[in-house]
Symmetry: C2
Subunit: 220 residues, 2 copies
């Protein structure tokens, strides 16, 4: 167990230390076994890096580095561009986040340490490498768009318009299923106050969003 970093510098220093390592090397240091099958290890790389950097939050809805207010996100890259959308957090149901600045989404995204990792479907996890890290702070233009997305999506949630909640909405932020399978349901109240069953949902960042972060980081 690695202690939480006390300062931002300490966190960034740790991130530099793991840059360039293969997952086999890092897992060896931490004495954590490598997974056999990538399909059954979807979150493994993210959790390994959490361990390596001393993230503490476990499964609580707070930033990974609570004292520093910094969230950790790994970002798989193919040829220096993000491959996938990025999960942000579950949608609170019933909706309890009152405003954008008080929302889980804002809390998770206001300051993020993005750790780039190599993605190659045909390379075993052990041989993939950890890349650079950048500490990113949400700027005001980005915030304006995320806020607008969040408010639009949150309104549909609050009003119980679950029919209209598909992944098609939102410029940067979208809502998609977040469950073990499409057979998992939770009970919620729909727009007419009736109990209905829906699949649990989560907020995700579109790939176009993280692509801009990558491009922005090149200018520094």
């Amino acid at each position: 167990m690695i202690a939480a970093p006390k300062t931002v510098d300490e966190l960034l220093s740790r991130a530099e230390q793991i840059c360039g390592l293969s997952f086999a090397q890092l897992a060896g240091h931490l004495e954590i076994p490598l997974p056999l099958d990538p399909v059954n290890a979807k979150g493994w790389m993210g959790q390994l890096i959490e361990n390596a950097l001393g993230a503490t939050s476990g499964s609580r809805p707070v930033p990974d580095f609570e004292a520093l207010g910094i969230e950790l996100k790994t970002l798989p890259l193919i040829q220096d561009l993000p491959k996938e959308s990025t999960f942000v957090c579950s949608t609170p149901i019933p909706n309890v986040d009152k405003s954008w600045r008080e929302s889980r989404v804002y809390d998770k995204l206001k300051k993020v340490l993005w750790v780039f990792i190599e993605y190659d479907k045909y390379k075993p996890i052990s041989h993939r490498r950890i890349g650079k890290s950048i500490l990113w702070t949400m700027d005001s233009q980005t915030e304006a768009i995320l806020k607008q997305d969040w408010e639009e999506l949150t309104e549909k949630l609050a009003l119980g318009k679950f029919d209209e909640l598909s992944a098609h909405h939102g410029q940067y932020l979208q809502i998609r299923p977040k469950a073990s399978s499409s057979q998992v349901f939770i009970d919620v109240l729909d727009s007419e106050g009736q109990r209905v069953k829906i699949v649990p949902k989560g907020f995700y960042l579109r790939t176009s969003f993280t692509k801009e972060i990558i491009l922005g980081s090149l200018n520094k």
Copy 2:
């Protein structure tokens, strides 16, 4: 997996069928392995009998036989008298049960199938036997006392008077710790609205109460 009984008669018939069996016999029928160490199998007998009779509720706060409104309780006896207090349910915190008749305690106790089981510390679980069962319905005198106990205890809970919440209160019903250890805490608001940590608690029936049920059953 045994289906839920559709009628009270079906339930009572099943209870008669397992009466007299040893736990080794019943576990064998159900193809469930016997526990090695009694200390690590505190709830095992109760859950085995749930399986045998077709209880369905899992860990939800509803009666074991939901459709019949009947709760199942095993009661360990030493020489025909109950050995221990009986767990009823966790205390809802913050308190959401508004009245006695709407409370979890009432819901769990209004109708109970008590299944007596043999307790003998020096006999391996495999050789202990399942005893008779009685279907018990709360009568009005009993309800009056339980209601008074519940209201007294619930008021202390609602007011946040956790200092005064010991197992010393209540004639039939008492409050005791209900957690993995005394090191487990939850956050609650005390009588002055301050966040404090307490060990989770549960409602229990005193042994004197179940003793009266046993004695009452002899008169029939």
